[in-house]
């Protein structure tokens, strides 16, 4: 069974780990969001791809939820001493990855090839692929102005209300070949319980991927990131309220209009109204067992 998962970092990465644990090696392809990517200190950083890679490879800092376990912060402290930009938290071990990736990209290797090599390097059987090798950058329109994602999220602590989301570059972006191929050959397409605007949105903003999903023959199932009418973490609740008018499963499904056959929602949000089939289960992932249970429920929903 071939599964193509669209995912951001954080909760999406944990869900990916759950799917990886219930599928056979090689059955899962994770298509990661690159809308959060940034250039900082001359380095190209792909936070969602890295959260996916670190989580799937068991390298993630479980407490913090991002970055590497056993991390140190001496390079960044030094950067601050020398007057460099230290607002984006890059740990020493994390930096090693950014250095290797940035050098490869500068040598002209596409991001998807670099990512595949990194994943192979840590022995991952799961395929990890960026939505696109081109530049797509999420920008947030807020009452205080329009900001690139990381400036809004990290530097401004995602305090500004969001009136609109732009995926700059998406209109000219081609799908990464392996991402398009994974969707075309998938027996099931899954949207992780990630933020529809910030994580899944920038992926399906790539026209080729949108079209491939819209015209799918396989079923496509999304997992709602809501539990009890709010996101488990992050700014999604406020964003949905302001931009979609509410935080019910129906509002989440509305973000995926024409792309999904079913929405897996938390029992706390059921029953609910939506224009797609709804499957209620426990969606909160608190340990590997709950990750696995959710993955199994989602695969069942995906098989119709």
């Amino acid at each position: 069974m071939r599964v193509a998962l669209l995912s951001g970092g954080g909760g999406g990465a944990r869900f990916a780990r759950g799917l990886q644990s219930v599928l056979a090696p090689g059955e899962l392809t994770v298509i990661g969001n690159v809308g959060d990517d940034l250039e900082i200190l001359g380095l190209r950083v792909s936070p969602d791809l890295d959260s996916l890679l670190y989580t799937l490879a068991g390298l993630i800092d479980v407490e913090r939820g991002w970055g590497r376990a056993d991390e140190t912060w001496n390079a960044l402290e030094s950067v601050a001493t020398w007057g460099g930009a230290a607002w984006f938290r890059l740990g020493d071990r994390d930096l090693g990855l950014h250095l290797v990736r940035t050098e490869a990209l500068r040598d002209g290797v596409p991001l998807s090839e670099v990512t595949a090599k990194l994943a192979r390097g840590v022995g991952l059987a799961t395929s990890l692929v960026p939505a696109t090798d081109d530049q797509v950058r999420t920008h947030l329109a807020t009452p205080a102005g329009t900001f690139p994602f990381q400036e809004w999220f990290v530097a401004r602590h995602h305090e500004d209300d969001v009136d609109g989301v732009e995926y700059r570059g998406a209109e000219h972006a081609s799908a990464a070949p392996a991402a398009a191929a994974a969707i075309a050959s998938a027996d099931a397409i899954v949207f992780a319980p990630s933020n529809p605007y910030l994580s899944i949105g920038p992926i399906v903003a790539v026209a080729e991927l949108h079209a491939a999903i819209a015209t799918r023959s396989a079923r496509c199932v999304a997992v709602s990131p809501l539990v009890g009418g709010d996101a488990v973490t992050g700014p999604l609740g406020r964003m949905l309220t302001r931009m979609a008018g509410g935080t019910t499963p129906g509002h989440v499904a509305g973000c995926y209009e024409g792309l999904i056959d079913a929405l897996v929602v938390d029992e706390a949000d059921a029953p609910a109204e939506a224009r797609v089939e709804m499957v209620a289960t426990k969606t909160l992932m608190t340990d590997s067992e709950s990750e696995r249970r959710l993955a199994e429920a989602v695969l069942e929903a995906a098989c119709g």
Copy 2:
């Protein structure tokens, strides 16, 4: 009294610290070798400038003799994991400097401006300036082929005999404005007890600097890096034997033909024959007191 010191890293940096300790703040300008510079992991690294900066600012690892004190190596360990080049030892704190410098250079800031800003950033009263803002790279001709400096020195452990030294790019390099100005306005010019071929050579290979020293009105004094007919550390002894025919003060003075008025030599190497004035003193620097004593002896020799 304005002193312009030409120096490599290591022993030259310790000598610079001695001069800094006996001169008034602002009297010393150190012109650093950039022939050892390299690009590694997409970073621009200037090992001699960094040894000077770290030594003068009290940040150097005293035991190791290079890099930062209290250093960690997690980024480089991670680089190795991800398949990147890990042969050149870059510590985490050290990396912070390379990131900041590389980003500035890529933004078009000349190396001398970046270096001045870094030095100001740690409150250095001494001016630190690269010989040139252009690229000059030392290459070593050996029986096994010609190698860039760091490949010969680090990767091949400077085991190959050296038949010749090339300073690639020097013929088209302009002096860094502050380096030329420091020599022009100096009351004394000093060559640190660095390797004549590898440290001082690439500096005076810049035609403007060579001419400014050759036509000096101030006295120019070199400190011999030999103690008892061999270099305290490094490959100089073998290089002098093979390329100059011996390891006496006269052989060192021969490397500086037309550029120096006097050579300060260690008592263990005196008396000796050379075509310049010789001043014998204890040149071995083992602590701050011996650094200071050597600096005082050299300044005395420089004042004629």
